[in-house]
Amino acid sequence: MKKALSLILALAMVLALAACGSKSGETETTPAPDNTPAVEADSLTFKLGGTGPLTGGAAIYGTAVKNAAELAVEEINAMSGVHFELNFQDDAHDAEKAVNAYNTLKDWGMQISLGSVTSKPAEATSAENYADRIFALTPSASSVATTAGKDNVFQMCFTDPNQGSASAQYIADKGLATKVAVIWKNDDVYSKGIYDTFMAAAPGLGLEIVSDTTFADGSDTDFSVQVADAQSKGAELVFLPMYYTPASLIFAQAKATGYAPTWFGVDGMDGILTLEGFDTALAEGVILLTPFNADSDDARTQAFVEKYQEKYGEIPNQFAADAYDCVYAYKQALEAAGCTADMSNEELNDAMIAQFTSMTFDGLTGAGMTWGTDGAVSKSPKGMIIQNGAYVGLD
């Protein structure tokens, strides 16, 4: 009996571990999308690869990136100049699967890369990109480790530290609060990266952190304790460096206890309004820093949102906009460098590094973007507030 129980418990632990990763099927193969117009392999058609979660808990991000990249490729292929052949593979937000997907792309003959969509897999694939000298521009993998020490990996999104310190700066500048609570996810590099720099920046800006609580995979449904802690310590603002799924639970549970602080999110909060069945009134007044606003008056943004909505039936989020920008940034860089498709990936790699560290790019997620040699982008975040179920620009 004892033996049987210990065996069963051991199995339960294995299952618990398995439950922590995203459970999903095998890497789904998505060869070049059927719906992109067939492009003849001419001397200006580049093989562009990328991986991201198309299945599993983070699939909403990978799907957004894939859709927007397809849309951009379709538009670019209809123009003269460089053309792309896109191959986007599923990595299920898993580092090991991402490396397998990367190898599939390498076998296919990938010349330039969109890296990976989420941070954990991107840290694995960017090391491969570096070793193989295949240039990567990731739309959304924001951790520092994605680019650190790799001269040929660049980001279209803000880095996590950038978000943490920018958030603290924004809260202090606008005088939103002095007593702040933070709830963060301690088994997630994204959340921890933002948390660390937020905490480092906060004291110098006169922000007092009164409550600091965490959660992790597997204990991410009950937030009564975290919310009660923030409430009892009188936090006026709660900073939520996390994705929107746990955030939606926090809003619901805070409402049940009658707690209504200012909620402050980061780019992972983007997507909360499209959550099926979500009562958008719960997110009323949530402030977040994001570089993209689908409601913007900007003509290019409006055209993008309209096309995306027509094709995929939903409003694009920031991940989609970042991916769209990535493809156009590649077009600009490849054309400026006069690259041709018969160049080796090493030659393309060197040309792209030279271009990205020197060029200025105007995209949907910011004007006048530049990149440092560390691969981090420089663009300014915009404050957004959720009002009547829609994002409204604050600045």
Binding site: M1, K2, A4, L5, I8, L9, L11, A12, L15, A16, A19, S22, K23, S24, G25, T55, G56, G57, A58, A59, I60, N186, T213, T214, F215, A216, D217, G218, S219, T221, D222, S224, V225, Q226, A228, D229, S232, T245, P246, S248, L249, A252, K255, A256, T257, G258, L275, E276, G277, F278, D279
Partner: protein
């Protein structure tokens, strides 16, 4: 007062664990197998109820009933297709099959319902003076108990009572107890063992549907992996209370929920799971069959 608030959160969470743990414990007690797919049947139940309420606009109670019916049928089907052919096989083979079924259900849900999270509607709010009230307040708002919590605790106690009466009083209950004691002897006494085990699965899966609805009412995010972690914690609760024992499932579930929330509140939000499983290890070291488990002497 914050202690009592935490205690209530703990009891609420614990009641959900207890209902899920009942499913594990019944199947284990009678069929002597661990149905690791139980957590995923919970997920299916929650999805059925979600679609009934949001897409077909059925009243909540009808949604719950539909979920119970679908899960009961699903439970019987799983038992017939995956477990019944393995009745004579070693228990390890059945265990692995159960894990396979669990993965199958999760991935089928991924395909059918996509990985995008869905927010479960709140069935148990009451309109007072035109405002949705989510709970009752005591001591001028210092102590809050949400309706979901009240409903969860009441449903949990009701299920426990009905199940105890059913197992001890009804003919089928008697047959279940006989099968749990000795399958072969029960067969000789004229009990249809296969039907009895199917009935156990049917009841366990029906309970899973109710647990799914309650779980998602309390924590309203629904994804294809919703059932896996609560399933594992409820399994732990069943072992904690003594697997095979119905009161043990209640006790184990409640204790696990309360320990989890209190350790979050008073020790550390980072270490709460470590504390819960640490307590489990200590209990099993002292009482290997769990708190209320039967002492079984194995003859050599």
């Amino acid at each position: 007062m914050s202690f009592f608030n935490s205690l209530i959160s703990g009891i609420s969470l614990g009641s959900i664990y207890a209902i899920i743990a009942l499913g594990y414990t019944m199947v284990y007690g009678i069929a002597k197998m661990l149905n690791f797919a139980h957590g995923d049947v919970i997920m299916v139940g929650a999805y059925v109820c979600f679609f009934a309420a949001s897409r077909f606009a059925l009243p909540p109670l009808a949604g719950v009933l539909l979920a119970v019916v679908v899960c009961t049928l699903l439970g019987i089907t799983i038992e017939k297709l995956a477990y019944a052919p393995l009745r004579a096989a070693p228990s390890l083979a059945v265990l692995i099959t159960a894990i396979g079924v669990s993965y199958f259900l999760q991935n089928a849900a991924l395909l059918l319902w996509t990985p995008n999270p869905k927010v479960f509607p709140n069935f148990v709010a009451r309109r007072v003076d035109g405002v949705d009230k989510a709970g009752v307040e005591f001591f001028g708002g210092a102590l809050r108990v949400s309706y979901v919590t009240l409903v969860t605790i009441l449903v949990c106690l009701a299920i426990m009572a009905v199940l105890t009466i059913f197992i001890n009083g009804s003919k089928l209950g008697k047959a279940m107890r006989a099968v749990s004691e000795d399958k072969d002897a029960a067969r000789l006494m004229g009990i249809n063992v296969n039907t009895t085990i199917s009935a156990t699965f049917a009841i366990g899966s029906g309970l899973a549907a109710i647990a799914g609805v309650l779980l998602c009412s309390a924590y309203p995010t629904l994804v294809p992996t919703t059932g896996s972690m609560p399933g594992i914690k409820a399994f732990t609760a069943a072992v904690f209370g003594g697997i095979g024992s119905i009161p043990g499932a209640l006790l184990g579930g409640l204790m696990l929920g309360v320990i989890e929330i209190l350790s979050k509140a008073y020790i550390s939000t980072q270490l709460s799971d470590a504390v819960v499983f640490g307590v489990l290890i200590v209990v099993l070291l002292v009482k290997p069959t769990g708190l209320l488990g039967k002492q079984i002497r194995e003859k050599v």
